[in-house]
Symmetry: C2
Subunit: 214 residues, 2 copies
């Protein structure tokens, strides 16, 4: 279709075609052979969100992660997000059961709670996840302190989520929090090892698990 | 302070200290010598958001970008965002003039407009930027089509933004849209060359320019 501006810059304007070509490029370049079909779709979307095929080599999932998280979403599990960026990156139209997408970071009680527990607001916000935690999909795209806090809550007997997407990013605590999650073994988990991660990758993992269709 | 859960996992819980250590690690590892002081703060925050010191080498700014964007924000420029993830990543408390943060993607007119112009919704949403565009800071963390669309609007005589943060991510059009922006020369611009980019890096650049204090 003609552009109403009359401009003739040469680029692909069809969103579906952009997705198809992007996924084809990723599958031609990334090392994906070690993944199951469901895991592979998760890996492809994480790569798509980051622009980096090499991140495939840093993705680690417990063997039960992909199927468990996929089944939990189909069964209507709430999706608990450590940041609004993660919540905003989740494509609501892909969710299989009109799943609740919850971020408690802006709750007015969080700053006081953070002072009381001597931790970040991101970590304190998790104390408000408690009522939703059993069987939920917990998603971390920002704060290592929040992921560490979840492990502490599990240590203290908090209800277990069905699966954890652990993708905090950064230079202090991110790699360590993800190592702790994978070593923990109590809940099915996905991480990108090392410093890389972020809200876009975290939301992409949810979007991949939410639907088989790409 | 003792953790109310009684758990003793070893990690840094002080948000300010996490920032300080993160920025110190970045400055010790990344190649930042070619940047001016303002540019360097932008680069450090982009690296911080991505977890990748090597991205420093892919950052390109026109010589007038950093000072122009910083001055525009101080003068109250609106911040136009191509996605809600970018808008949510901007720390409102850092903005120097209670700047408006605008994302038009959810406007009800956008789907029809996208069909009419034969482009993505992200690109169509830019047609609703027009009233805010003169002197604005335009921020792209997602869609190459949106960045191409801005260039088309400028080709057709649209008002010029003060500065453009061009950080679309991905495999189809992202690298090309950023090359086109830097080659364009009409507006001060920042890009990360190649496939890398994203909403977190884009918001980080705004957060760096919004305040000199880290």
């Amino acid at each position: 279709m003609a552009d109403i501006q009359g401009s003739n810059r040469d680029y692909i304007r069809d969103g579906d075609e952009i997705y198809r070509r992007s996924f084809a490029i990723i599958r031609s370049e990334a090392r994906l052979a070690r993944f199951t079909p469901v895991e592979e779709r998760v890996a492809v979307r994480i790569i798509h969100a980051s622009g980096m095929v090499e991140v495939a080599d840093d993705i680690a999932m417990t063997p039960d992660f992909a199927e468990t998280a996929r089944a939990a979403l189909r069964a209507g599990a709430p999706i608990l997000c450590d940041s609004k960026m993660v919540a905003n990156g989740i494509t609501r139209a892909r969710l299989p059961a009109d799943n609740a997408v919850i971020c408690t970071l802006d709750d007015p009680s969080v700053p006081d709670l953070a002072r009381r527990i001597g931790n970040t607001r991101s970590a304190a916000a998790l104390d408000l996840w408690r009522a939703h935690l059993a069987g939920a999909v917990a998603v971390f795209g920002n704060a290592p302190t929040a992921l560490f806090r979840l492990l502490e809550m599990l240590d203290a007997g908090a209800p277990r989520p069905a699966a954890v997407i652990g993708l905090p990013v950064g230079f202090v605590g991110a790699a360590e929090s993800k190592e702790a999650l994978i070593a923990d073994g109590r809940v099915p988990a996905l991480v990108v090892k090392g410093r890389k991660g972020g809200s876009a990758m975290a939301a992409a993992a949810v979007n991949a698990l939410a639907r088989d269709a790409e």
